[in-house]
């Protein structure tokens, strides 16, 4: 048992089954959409409706009182499907195009895989060049030229040719010959594919443009505006998606880099706080902060930022992979806030650190020479335990002692120490500078100098460095051990002779003459 509807079709009243009513409604709506942008479509629709009504009338005359599904199906079959109603287009036609397109693909699928054969039909020697040319899509003449040149130049081409002749099979059967000639899979082909896609896209856009134009004619002004809006958003969306994709990619890269920097920084700060396990690189950064309070603050803010960033990153990734419906904009705001705070803290700390390095203090001390012999002096090197590869190796501070050698202004040897350090105030800097240590031991007529300097307090790095100055008087000789030159940073001031770095023996003998410093045992053979 079904419901029936009373309808007005083409001006005539009918009673119709509910299934039939639904089918009829769908049919008429389809027709309406189909003819929507044809000129005079209302008239066409009315004509069709009238004709349907006529058909139904005849049915009623013949005895049935209610229009049923069968009636509707018969009527619509006679009337035809919307696609069949156009004069210019035809469903069949389109299907045919589809079929030929598929036929295109099928055989091409075989030939697309181009294979390397020797082309025996077009050969001079073995058809190697011809075959190569066919595979690469290059004119075989070029290949022949290349081989000829290589043979002329070095003869290597001949060997290569023979090898290829042996390895590459000859295209004997028709299939093989066709395979040789087929479409190559290479950049060129890929480019062609892209071209075709672009062209198809272009045509799609053109069709869409024409569609818009023709629809336009039929719309009232307001409808025109609405339609335009819709189309604008339609076209924008394509470029938008592309653009957004690129931006998203860049942002992700930035985020990853940022995370790594955060991580590295955290480790450094941890080391500064005394976590031995982390290792020692770079040492100075750990000791940059004036107080451990500073270090701790930095550490905490870094950890918070890191953990929240990582958490959000993981959630985002999971969301993407598993399509979770997780609204985490709240978290995003939180992260944004935390990162801002962390950033501010970082900035403040940076300023504080820079401030701590702003002033340089210089302290100069005369080291009294207590050796017995006042006429000659031996300068030895002592390795004071900080060799290369030592665990406290520094990144920024090269703790090698610097030694400057000058003529003395009086008749005695002098040893001066200049130390530098940095701090927020000159006075503090000078205090720090005083605390630099260069191991110097004196006994007999020997001064032993350590090759590394160190500083107090507690290893806080403030760009400390030390320079020793040795002043040599006239008529007295300083015997400087080879090791000093090997391990210290030695400079000479006011040297009379050039090229005095090479000397014979274990000690360089330096003294001052009228014209300046001179080395007594210069190695002339080295020149």
């Amino acid at each position: 048992m079904n419901k029936i509807f009373d309808i007005n079709l083409g001006g005539l009243p009918f009673q119709i089954d509910d299934n039939a009513y639904e089918a009829l409604t769908i049919y008429l709506t389809t027709l309406k959409n189909h003819f929507a942008h044809t000129v005079g479509y209302e008239e066409i629709l009315n004509d069709i409706e009238s004709r349907l009504a006529e058909m139904f009338s005849e049915k009623i005359k013949n005895g049935s009182r209610i229009i049923s599904m069968v009636d509707v199906e018969e009527a619509t079959t006679i009337m035809g499907k919307p696609e069949q109603m156009d004069e210019s287009e035809n469903v069949q036609q389109e299907q045919t195009q589809q079929k030929t397109k598929e036929a295109h693909q099928q055989p091409n699928e075989h030939w697309y895989r181009r294979r390397l054969y020797r082309n025996a039909d077009d050969k001079i020697l073995g058809g190697v060049c011809s075959g190569l040319g066919a595979t690469l899509g290059v004119d075989k003449v070029w290949i022949r030229l290349a081989f000829a040149c290589s043979i002329l130049l070095l003869g290597t081409g001949a060997l290569l040719y023979i090898i290829l002749w042996i390895i590459i099979p000859e295209a004997k059967s028709a299939t093989e010959k066709l395979e040789m000639q087929g479409e190559p899979i290479n950049i060129h082909n890929i480019g062609k594919q892209i071209e075709e896609d672009a062209k198809a896209f272009g045509e799609h856009m053109k069709k869409w443009g024409e569609e818009v134009k023709s629809t336009f004619k039929n719309y009232t002004k307001k409808e025109k505006r609405d339609y335009l809006q819709k189309q604008k958003t339609k076209s924008k969306s394509i470029f938008h998606v592309l653009w957004r994709g690129i931006i998203r990619f860049i942002v992700i890269i930035f985020k990853i880099v940022f995370l790594f920097i955060l991580l590295a920084f955290t480790l450094v700060v941890l080391r500064g706080l005394g976590w031995e396990a982390i290792g020692n690189y770079p040492y100075e950064f750990s000791n940059i902060f004036a107080t451990s309070i500073q270090s701790n603050i930095i550490l905490i803010s870094l950890l918070i930022t890191l953990s929240i960033s990582i958490a959000i990153g993981i959630i985002g990734l999971l969301k993407y992979i598993f399509h979770f419906k997780f609204n985490y904009t709240g978290l995003k705001y939180l992260r944004g806030g935390v990162i801002s705070i962390a950033f501010i803290i970082l900035m403040v700390t940076a300023i504080m650190v820079v401030n701590d390095f702003s002033h340089q203090g210089k302290v100069s001390t005369e080291i009294p020479i207590t050796t017995v012999d006042k006429n000659k002096l031996y300068i030895h090197l002592v390795h004071n335990g900080k060799e290369e590869g030592d665990e406290d190796e520094l990144f920024l501070a090269d703790r090698t002692v610097s030694l400057q050698i000058e003529p003395s202004t009086d008749s005695a040897f002098h040893l001066e120490k200049y130390s530098y350090a940095r701090s927020s105030k000159r006075s503090a800097a000078e205090a720090l500078a005083k605390k630099t240590i260069v191991p110097i031991v004196q006994h007999d007529s020997v001064i032993e100098i350590g090759n590394y300097y160190d500083w107090l307090p507690s290893k806080k790095w403030r760009n400390q460095f030390v320079e020793l100055t040795l002043k040599i008087p006239k008529n007295k000789i300083a015997y400087i051990h080879r090791n000093i030159f090997n391990h210290l940073d030695v400079h000479f001031s006011n040297v009379y002779m050039e090229d005095a770095m090479a000397f014979t023996g274990l000690y360089a003998q330096w003294t001052t003459v009228d014209k300046g410093l001179a080395c007594l045992n210069v190695d002339t053979s080295a020149r």
């Binding site: 004509d47 069709i48 004709r51 006529e54 006679i78 069949q92 000639q181």
Partner: protein
């Protein structure tokens, strides 16, 4: 290098579509007719498959000024449109006759020459 199978049905369809308008006008020229009539006559020569093709065609021709119609009440159904040729339509049809005869000649010629 590969065979492209020609769709015979498609070709036939194209032929039919080309002369549909011409046939419809010829039919109407004989005497004024309404769509069902025209369809019935076309059916006898198996030219159309669906009725729905006719309505857009007739409406278009009317809008172009080739056809005009009048209403006639029908006792057994909705009112009918009876189409007839306008003066413009008549001269258009004359041109189409000429065109058709030219085509006939051309095709006959080709068929004779290539002995199809």
């Amino acid at each position: 290098m590969y065979l492209c199978s020609m769709n015979i049905e498609n070709a036939k369809q194209q032929m039919r579509k080309g002369i549909l308008e011409y046939c419809v006008l010829s039919i109407i020229a004989e005497e004024e007719a309404y769509p069902s009539d025209i369809i019935a006559k076309l059916k006898t020569v198996r030219l159309i498959v669906v009725e729905g093709t006719l309505y857009p065609l007739l409406t278009r021709l009317k809008n172009e000024g080739i056809l005009t119609y009048r209403w006639e009440e029908s006792p057994s159904g909705p009112p009918r449109k009876y189409y007839r040729l306008t003066a413009t339509g008549k001269s258009a049809l004359k041109e189409l006759h000429k065109a058709w005869e030219d085509l006939e000649e051309t095709v006959a010629h080709i068929r004779k020459k290539t002995k199809l």
